[in-house]
């Protein structure tokens, strides 16, 4: 089955990240790189997104499209990237998510084919 693992950052996580020096951040990136390499055979696609301050939302629900600055929900948790994986079942996707070494929230959704 195909799933998307959505990685979400929290306010606290962002604060902690800001407080890190370059060597700590490099170590963080290295861990993510290692995770990607370990699961390379299952990952079919992966992307990191630019921050929520770069987001633009278009609302199409009331006739005229309305364009607004920012994400569609002003939340404390923001999706910051995703990977698409091809695995046997939810348990295998969960095993991957459990070992994710970066931001503290991962949402798993099956992909409709």
């Amino acid at each position: 089955m195909k799933y998307v693992l959505m990685f979400c950052e929290t306010e606290q996580w962002e604060k902690d990240w800001e407080a890190m020096d370059q060597s700590e951040r490099d170590a963080g990136f290295a861990k993510v790189g290692q995770w990607m390499a370990e699961h390379a055979d299952k990952i079919t696609h992966n992307r990191k997104l630019a921050g929520p301050e770069t987001a633009t939302t278009v609302r199409l629900e009331d006739g005229e499209p309305i364009i607004t600055d920012g994400p569609f929900i002003e939340g404390k948790e923001v999706v910051s990237g995703y990977v698409e994986v091809e695995v046997a079942d939810l348990d295998e996707a969960l095993r991957m998510a459990r070992t994710w070494p970066a931001c503290p929230l991962v949402e798993i959704r099956p992909v409709l084919m």
């Binding site: 089955m1 348990d91 996707a93 969960l94 099956p110």
Partner: protein, 394 residues
Amino acid sequence: MTSPDDVLARVVREHAGRLAASLVSLLGDFSAAEDLVADAVETALRRWPVEGVPDRPDAWLFTVAKNRGLDVLRRQARYREKLAQLQWPVQPEPDDRLRLIFTCCHPALSREAQIALTLRVVCGLTTAQIARAFLVPETTVAQRLTRAKRKITDAGIPYRIPAPEELGERLAQVLHVVYLMFNEGYLSSSADRVQSHDLVADADWLASLLHGLMPREPEIAGLLALIRLHRARTAARFSPEGNLVQLQDQDRSRWDQQMIGEAVELLTRAAHHRRPGPYQLQAAIVACHAEAKSWEDTDWPQIVILYDMLLCLAPSPVTRLHRTIALRYVSGAEKALAELDSLGLDRYHLYHATRAELLRDLGRDDEAREADQRALELTANPAEQALLKQRLRP
């Protein structure tokens, strides 16, 4: 005393889960398999009381489910072919029901869904029976089940025993579901709930099924012992008028000594694995009470030690509250009250009820009445309300 309903429940429990396990394996579709079994069970519960329980209830359920499947699965030709080839007797793998239980209690499902699914799929309860047992509308249970089955299919929840490195955590989930089932049945059992399904019997049966399938897991044995030790005292828990009788006032000659002996034996064997856990410790505490000749003979120092061990493994303010009850008999009411007051459980009725007892011990009767009054305001359980009202009577 065994009513015809109990006999039916037992027969269904014994065979419905097995049939569900075989059909899920065969069809590879949890939801479709479950629908067929549920239909067969409904039919059985309609017909058996009239026609009598057939000699081979398993073969009977199998035939009804199979015919039903051939009838309704018209569009899924694949399933129909598989079903058509299926011959009685089916030989389910010994682990099939275990896989079924782990699927029903998968952590990707909500706790309510886990409980409802397990009762329905593994124990063979009908939607109506589950609804009555939990005092919720039948439509709520039906929705919960539908949503959960859809999630199993759509989210790709597997039908298998978890990998060894995940087994411990997943088993803990399963045991928690069985424990909640037991608790619900045990706390709500009283004269006015005789109409509801006996969840305690279901929990007992599930724990013993798990124990048979995974005999080397001491926490399963611990939970089974805990359930049996509580059940052994059922006859003494209510007065002839249907009022709750507290442990210290129970007629201990009405406790089932054989059941207590067997449960203690089970617990002792579990302890040989040297892997203590919350259920073994809770069972050990209840065993201390069950083996005491009287309230006064209770081994309170041992109970306090067991509570300390339990708190190490699973810290919880409610466990600390129960520890203070034992502490009263080891270190005195004053010490116990000081400990209790540090817990901050102001919204919990047992906190106030316990406080009342300690205050009465210390001769502070007015404060004790206030505490009982507060406990009464906070409990919704009729049996407990009756007990507190009795205490408050001048």
